[in-house]
């Protein structure tokens, strides 16, 4: 225990001298300013459908205006000419629909799949049926399992989970790698080999110090942006497990490289993999099964649940999943460190 305490003190001094703590504070201020003052509270991210009504008496436009956007599967925006419709389509991800008296033209971008086109066709079918009075609604009912979860997070607050998962936790990932390279290049690991310090103590000290910076940053960010209106106990459990996991992954990967230049691309590739589930976070209907195995996926959704004060049923299952992943990664770190860093072969 005494040896571990000494190692923690050494690594803390290294973090302090390396301006890691200053960096943490700079990031806390930067992210707080972005969330509180730069990002808007409301943002329309839905796909638009642009309509051009060429029917006699513009009956489609009149009907759509009377109906409004409420309850439509597709958000509809009216245009006045084909040029305007094409111009809007060029600038956005939407599709266009031109209504004429005897036909309907769908103007697609070109990359849409069959399912999207089927959805647009179904919308047009129902719309024309409603207009001609031949529509007979099918009987079905809705059941909402969590009516209390219908309240939406403001857009700026909804950016907190991806920023924490992609920027804050990576603090530990970056910094632990820097410490490992420093230890390798300055021969510190060679000195540890002939000292009473064991592999377990070395790993624990590095992971704890670097994760604690990410945890501190997450807590500062939580207080500065959300205030005290969330369950900080749940928040602390998730950010601690996540920060430990990402820092351990940083240690696992950085051992195989000798310098930051070599490691840069691994770092970027790893960041990209971790960033992929952000697409699902902002478009939850875009669900790819393998996303669930990328740590950032459950982390982002769980932090979102916590900051929106939703009654999350997954907090403990997500915590368990992160704890199991952490145990697995730490085991790998232990054996690889023993072989690569503390083994007979020289590390650098």
């Amino acid at each position: 225990m005494k040896k571990l305490w000494t190692l923690l003190k050494i690594d803390y001094t290294m973090a302090l001298r390396g301006k890691f703590i200053l960096l943490t504070l700079i990031l806390a201020i930067l992210l707080t300013v972005i969330i509180n003052f730069v990002l808007p509270e409301k943002l329309n991210t839905e796909m638009n459908t642009y309509i051009l009504d060429r029917t006699s008496n513009t009956r489609i436009a009149t009907f759509l205006n009377a109906q409004g956007d409420e309850g439509n599967a597709i958000k509809i925006r009216a245009t006045k000419s084909e040029e305007e419709l094409t111009s809007m389509l060029t600038k956005s991800n939407g599709v266009g629909i031109i209504f004429e008296d005897n036909r309907v033209i769908i103007v697609k971008q070109g990359y849409e799949d069959e399912a999207t086109l089927n959805l647009i066709t179904a919308t047009i079918n129902l719309l024309t049926k409603k207009l001609t009075g031949v529509y007979s609604p099918k009987s079905f009912k809705y059941t909402v399992l969590e009516p209390q979860s219908t309240e939406k997070l403001p857009f700026n607050k909804s950016m907190i989970p991806p920023l924490i998962a992609l920027d804050v936790f990576f603090l530990g990932f970056y910094l632990i790698a820097a410490m490992i390279f420093q230890d390798k290049n300055e021969g510190i690991i060679n000195a540890y080999r002939i000292s009473p310090i064991n592999v377990f103590g070395y790993i624990t000290s590095k992971v704890v110090i670097n994760s604690s910076l990410a945890i501190a940053l997450s807590l500062i960010l939580g207080v500065a942006t959300v205030g005290f209106h969330m369950n900080y106990w749940h928040y602390f459990v998730i950010v601690t497990l996540s920060a430990l996991l990402i820092s351990s992954l940083g240690m696992l990967l950085s051992q195989f490289y000798n310098s930051l230049s070599e490691f840069m691309y691994v770092l970027i590739a790893f960041t990209l993999v971790i960033a992929i589930p952000v697409i699902s976070y902002f478009q939850p209907s875009f669900s790819v099964p393998f996303f669930k195995y990328i740590p950032s996926y459950p982390i982002m959704f769980e932090i979102k649940n916590i900051i929106s004060s939703a009654q999350s049923k997954e907090i403990w299952s997500v915590s368990l999943l992160l704890a199991v992943e952490l145990a697995g990664v730490l085991t790998l770190v232990y054996f690889t460190s023993k072989r690569i860093l503390f083994g007979r072969r020289r590390s650098s």
Partner: protein
């Protein structure tokens, strides 16, 4: 000129020795291939539906036209699926009636979608003929943004690697031995900058070719590469001049990357009347060029392009002057 070539030779030899060259050449290609494999799925995100076995097969077949079906043989399992983090509505058939199961926090369009499909399935014959025209756009804006972001990362990486090489020279004391050679600080930094610019140009064209084959506009790509190359050089100089070891260089990289992300977010969301607050950041102008050319697809980029070149060049120049005082080579 001879000194210059010998310096480039030294850097290439070092890069070969450290296997760094292999990473630098191979890594962007691997990243491009990964994007090539993954990006098409962003064009048309596939919807998913959780369907109970009680639902008639004819309706399940109809539903498959709109997305992927996940089948469940019990209501409790279907309920668990609906309650998961992603937005997957459930559909069951009870007492001769369809029931749509939602969690409650789904996007508005997804709440009304299952009902619309149920409605349409029972009366799918079209009243009016439907024709389809295509604008022949082959990628969505989100895919475009992702691919261009990868290019920007690769362009700036050239500068960052150069910065780390300068830090390496400082750590190995190679820079002290250069101080007794006829080399000036300006020449030393110029050699590093040229190597980084050549790398950024070559790697970004290779990556663009892998991602887009011949379907890209070389002029547009150059308009993107030039300001970001200059910004990459400035970022590399910042790292190389101010960082003294691996630890401090990673602090610089993390701070710089966070500032770059913050400026790019701000350039999208800051209201037009407050945009002047960002004018001082050279990377804001580079992002403005990116937005005009690749997102708005406009040709009106000249002014922003020019300001991006001027501001980034001034930053490179200021850092070079500062480095001359700090490195004191000659």
């Amino acid at each position: 000129m001879r000194e210059f070539i010998s310096l480039i030779k030294k850097d290439i030899t070092n890069a070969f020795r450290d296997k760094l060259l292999m990473y630098i050449i191979v890594a962007p290609i691997i990243m491009a291939i990964l994007i090539l494999l993954f990006a098409p799925s962003l064009d048309s995100p596939k919807l998913r539906f959780a369907v109970d076995n009680s639902v008639p097969h004819s309706f399940t077949n109809e539903l498959e036209k709109y997305g992927t079906i996940e089948s469940f043989n019990s209501f409790s399992k279907l309920e668990q699926r609906v309650l998961m983090s992603d937005d997957v509505p459930g559909i069951i058939y009870r007492d001769g009636e369809f029931e749509v199961i939602l969690q409650g926090n789904e996007e508005d369009y997804l709440k009304s979608l299952p009902g619309m499909i149920i409605d349409n399935a029972s009366q799918s014959t079209s009243i009016m003929p439907i024709e389809i025209q295509s604008l022949d756009v082959n990628r969505s804006i989100i895919r475009n943004v992702l691919e261009v972001s990868i290019l920007v990362i690769i362009i700036i990486m050239g500068g960052a690697i150069m910065g780390l090489m300068i830090v390496g020279d400082k750590e190995s004391k190679a820079i002290k031995s250069l101080a007794v050679s006829p080399l000036t600080t300006g020449k030393y930094l110029f050699e590093k900058a040229v190597a980084s610019v050549i790398y950024s140009f070559v790697s970004s064209f290779v990556v663009a070719f892998i991602m887009w084959r011949f379907a890209f506009n070389a002029v547009n790509l150059l308009v993107l590469i030039i300001p970001f190359c200059l910004f990459g050089v400035a970022a590399g100089f910042l790292i190389g001049i101010f960082a003294n070891n691996q630890n401090s260089s990673i602090v610089f990289i993390k701070t710089l990357s966070s500032v770059v992300i913050a400026i790019s977010i701000a350039s999208v969301f800051v209201p037009h009347k407050l945009e002047w607050m960002l004018y001082v950041f050279p990377n804001f102008w580079a992002f403005k060029v990116l937005k005009i050319v690749f997102i708005d697809k406009s040709l009106n980029y000249f002014n922003s392009f020019l300001i991006a070149i001027i501001t980034n060049s001034l930053l490179v120049l200021a850092l070079t002057i500062y480095a001359q005082k700090k490195f004191k080579l000659r």
